[in-house]
Symmetry: C2
Subunit: 482 residues, 2 copies
């Protein structure tokens, strides 16, 4: 027996080492598998235009039917405190694609709120867009839909990191060629039948840098954006890709396809949103069909709040105050759904997020460092997305043009200046108005008098913010031929 | 070969008949199985108090977390145009339990809007309650929670068809014994710390007809209602039952248990709603555990809109206008979820429904004819619940006290009189204000001038309604010792 013991011990050691090797291998395999499935490698941003916080079924609208977005929210993460970088189109899109507050890139101006068809400039060439970040990691990139960051050739998507562009270069209500004088001026036009004819909006539809249709047929435009997007996904299913699908609706003028027109109980605005919902359903179905649902992160949100002055052709911010153009919550808080069945568990996030965070989050996921030669405002939301942790964002800066109107820190928002989205007068507040947004999402109850220490804390945050602020040259002010 | 043909034919006929018999048997079996599972036989009404249209996650609230109700909605039918019979407690509950507009039963008055602790009367004995209907079919019945249809013995639940009662007989803010004079009167009281002590509300807790606790400990009351309800369900799992669980919260004063206090980002109101959500989760879990989920229909809704004058301790009507006490949508349209996994397919219903319809729907399902000696306003919603058809309801009458303020027919609502929930002045409108509620749920855009024919149509509906109207003697007006 004695002689046998060393042999048994040897056999034991060999077995033990073998088991350990196998366990290590399994463990490595698990880690590898974990890496492969735990974080997505493809990115899709679905970006609506002027959609309000309250305009989806899952965000409480009673008559707009959005079964695809409702299901997407049920399978994904529904964010209830998600912000855009500005309350109007151009600076909001600049924030999304640069990860920076528009005031830093010069895409915020005291003169013009957005770019117009006669604007000379666009997003500065030295801004590094999210698409340019993705190109560093070899991604296929496409921008389908509304751009609105400069329509002259050097500013177009294909000069900003996108391999491919199909869409309109600015808002769908621009190049308005109708005769306003016969219908009582600009606002009269929007009450007249003239708004229902897309020929009155001489907006170009472009492929890469070429105009392929003018005026763009806006009845079929959402369907065509969807088709282009599905084609891009299928063509790139074997490589990493980034798709930015920026619907140009439900921004007025509203146009639906024959399939959707006169179908929603909400009227034309509902037809248009329901057609976008249908498009989202088709995009997600394509991902499932191609097996890309496990490796793709899809984010749905909108560029700013509802255009309330358009009455029933504008949307609803639900219980939030005011809408597009304002720094009240209705102007800058948006529906937002993150969907990635392979890596994101369903739930609701009540913490703060921002479109600028997509820049930093996607960059980190793609393995591309964010630029270190400038301030990037985006924060990597991965802990909230993949680990069930709280959102790492605790602050939001609400600019109107180049002026800081309000700041949120945690639950508290201080308004230093308030102004309705389209009202003429700005009102300065000293002390600022103070609201607890978690308890009072409708910004009804000013509690400034009760919390001077919170106001002091926010004012300190503002001081630090201002110290680090380098304002880019105003890219929106120059218009007309040079 | 010739001789064989008849035999082959015979064999063929025998086989054919056999197959047909099998198919018929299968078909019958399916029908039987269909009958057994297609309609529920037990009924539970979960009735919140002063919960607003916008106060659940699935109805758009950003910071009140209601995972159980969200899931219930996802598994069931979420109604987005569901109404109560009145915008304050007593008449709303009368409508629910009688299936009749309160003006018919005398539970609507020009003098008092609700019953008070010194009120002499209650629901008339000759009204046939939903519980009395269920008793005709041998159901076990229980009322757990707030009653508010008369606190003197003859008016209590046990005299109105309920085998068992556990709860408070009127609102949780009544029997207010605090000294208002020291805190600036009644509204001052609601801003003072006195509101946070349940001893200032000397509300009795009753079991059947006995007071078992006074003042009721309101911190633990939701938990105790839940426990009583679960016990009732388990005790009656082998027979048909009807449970009416009427939470007395989030009506102010707000009280949460230690488990929920200071947990919701929405503050105390959120704590209270989240505790109710937890209770709903426990009720549904009990049904699943006992296997009763296949045979039980659960309906969650609330008695009226949010009590807006209570500021952040009142709820939110979301995008709807005004709240409790008013005939604007925020006063009378409520969250409503029908859940019956064995028979109801998930979905969203944008058609009209009413709490009064529960009376007629449950009666039909239980095989009990609705009374034919009086007008019953309830409509059997079965086609919308079980067959995926449109709701059969097309009209809603909005009474304030005993006066008809507004009428909805289809998409259109005409306001003949408007008044804020707690504002002093009623304003009469001739022509009435007219809103398209499907297109304009926030009642912002009066379209009366554009649709005189719709107003005429609604006025004709009002004439017919008035012709058939027999007003019950006012049961709310008499107060004090006789």
């Amino acid at each position: 027996m004695k002689n046998f013991q060393p042999r048994i011990a040897s056999i034991g050691i060999v077995l033990l080492v073998g088991v350990m090797l196998i366990l290590t291998a399994c463990s490595n395999q698990n880690d590898t598998a974990g890496d492969q499935t735990s974080e997505p490698s493809n990115f899709i941003i679905l970006f609506a235009d002027d959609l309000g916080y309250g305009d989806l079924g899952v965000y409480g609208h009673p008559t707009i039917r959005t079964p695809n977005l409702d299901q997407m929210a049920h399978e994904g993460l529904k964010w209830t405190n998600f912000y855009v970088g500005a309350s109007v189109c151009t600076p909001s899109r600049a924030a999304l694609l640069t990860g920076r507050l528009p005031v830093r890139s010069g895409m915020a101006s005291p003169v013009n709120r957005v770019l117009f068809p006669d604007s000379r400039n666009g997003l500065p060439a030295d801004e590094i867009t999210l698409a340019e970040q993705m190109k560093k990691a070899g991604y296929a990139t496409a921008c389908i839909g509304k751009w609105h960051l400069g329509h002259r050739e050097q500013f177009l998507p294909t000069n900003n990191g996108f391999d491919y562009y199909f869409g309109i270069p600015y808002s769908n209500d621009m190049d308005n060629v109708a005769d306003f004088s016969s219908v009582g001026g600009y606002m009269g036009f929007w009450k007249s039948a003239l708004r229902k004819d897309f020929h009155n909006f001489n907006v170009p539809l472009m492929r890469n840098t070429e105009i392929i249709e003018r005026p763009a047929d806006q009845h079929t435009i959402t369907r065509r954006y969807t088709e282009e997007s599905i084609r891009f996904i299928k063509e790139n299913k074997d490589q990493k890709f980034f798709l930015y699908l920026a619907y140009n609706l439900p921004h007025v003028p509203l146009f639906a396809s024959a399939e959707f027109e006169n179908t929603s109980p909400r009227g034309l605005y509902g037809d248009v949103v329901e057609e976008i919902d249908h498009s989202v359903g088709q995009i997600l179905a394509t991902l499932r069909e191609t097996g890309l649902d496990e490796s793709t992160l899809v984010v749905f949100t909108s560029d700013n709040g509802p255009w309330l002055i358009m009455d029933d052709e504008g949307g609803s911010a639900g219980l939030l105050r005011e809408g597009k153009g304002s720094t009240w919550e209705g102007g800058m808080r948006e529906p937002c759904i993150f969907w990635a069945p392979g890596s994101i568990k369903p739930g609701i996030v009540t913490g703060i997020g921002s479109t600028m965070d997509l820049y930093t989050t996607f960059s980190r996921l793609a393995g591309v460092p964010v630029p270190d030669d400038r301030v990037v405002d985006g924060i990597d939301l991965s802990p909230a997305l993949f680990e069930g942790k709280e959102s790492p964002r605790n602050e939001m800066f609400y600019y109107r043009g180049d002026r800081l109107f309000a700041v949120r820190v945690g639950d508290y928002k201080a308004h230093f200046i308030t102004r309705g989205g389209y009202s003429p007068a700005a009102i300065e507040h000293d002390p600022p108005l103070l609201f607890n947004l978690s308890e009072d999402p409708s910004e009804k109850y000013d509690i400034a008098a009760d919390y001077p220490e919170i106001i002091e804390m926010i004012e300190e945050v503002v001081r630090q913010h201002n110290e680090g602020l380098v304002r880019g040259p105003d890219m929106l002010k120059d218009r007309g031929e040079p």
